[in-house]
Amino acid sequence: MDPLLLLAYFTLPAAITLIAFAALKLHERSAPPGEDVSPSESEQHEQVVKAPINNGARLGTLNHSEDAIAVYDDVVARYDTAGDPGLREPVARALVNKGYTLSMLNRNAEAIAVYDEVVARFGTAGDPGLRRPVATALVNKGFTLGTLNRSAEAIAVYDEVVARFGTAGDPGLRELVARALADKGFTLGTLNRSAEAIAVYDEVVAHFGATG
């Protein structure tokens, strides 16, 4: 066998393995922020709670809404009293998802009560992981109020989202603020307050138009 070919033959697998290792390291470094590759004990607890929440979401999309609500209730009952700060976010998320599922069942009053509970319990939290469910609860509440033709209240809720999270730097929160403004514009449009609606849409473009 040609010595050069032999050299290439034996060097190739080693080179491929080294490149693969380096590529994997680079990929792991590009992981989204806030998540560690090797989770701590508290984060492992969070991951254990995420599974039933995801199951609930799947049940919801499969039209097993009552089962989904039971799953969310179970998550809240199990982890609400745990006292672990890391478990507050999954509990808040379960409540938000429960509210959304209730609104899909046209149980809007109950949905609004659940969203209010999220805001009352976690509204003052500074943790970004908790601020997102709170913002989502408010946006969803505004939307639910809009479907009930309680437009004035809906607009007030959207204003609350902007007041609370308008200056947030977190991309997730910024997206929710943009949605609140867009939904506010839509609600103003349904009230024939077109000039105000256009002003709100302009505000969305001015604030978020350059976002990549």
Partner: protein, 86 residues
């Protein structure tokens, strides 16, 4: 309107899909390198008298071990990549 479809969640979704693609590619590479260990056998099985001599078999065994090692490492890298799923 959905539960929590934020850009952060979408970033995790994209990251997970990339991770699965990487793990898949590594496992395929592992299979190819594993199969590559048989190449010397083809080459070495063509001596002048048409038989494989003892040193050639020894060379083949060593070469197979070498390739199997890297195939194994790549397979383990694929598994490690999958452990990083969120």
């Amino acid at each position: 309107m959905s539960g929590l479809r934020t850009s952060a969640e979408r970033a995790i979704l994209i990251y997970n899909e990339r991770t699965k693609l990487i793990a898949n590619a590594y496992d395929r590479a592992s299979t190819v390198i594993g199969a590559g260990s048989f190449l010397p056998l083809i080459n070495l099985s063509k001596p002048s008298d048409g038989t494989i001599t003892a040193p050639a078999i020894f060379q083949f065994a060593l070469s197979a071990l070498f390739f199997a090692f890297f195939a194994g490492v790549l397979h383990l890298l694929a598994r490690r990549a999958l452990r990083g799923l969120r």
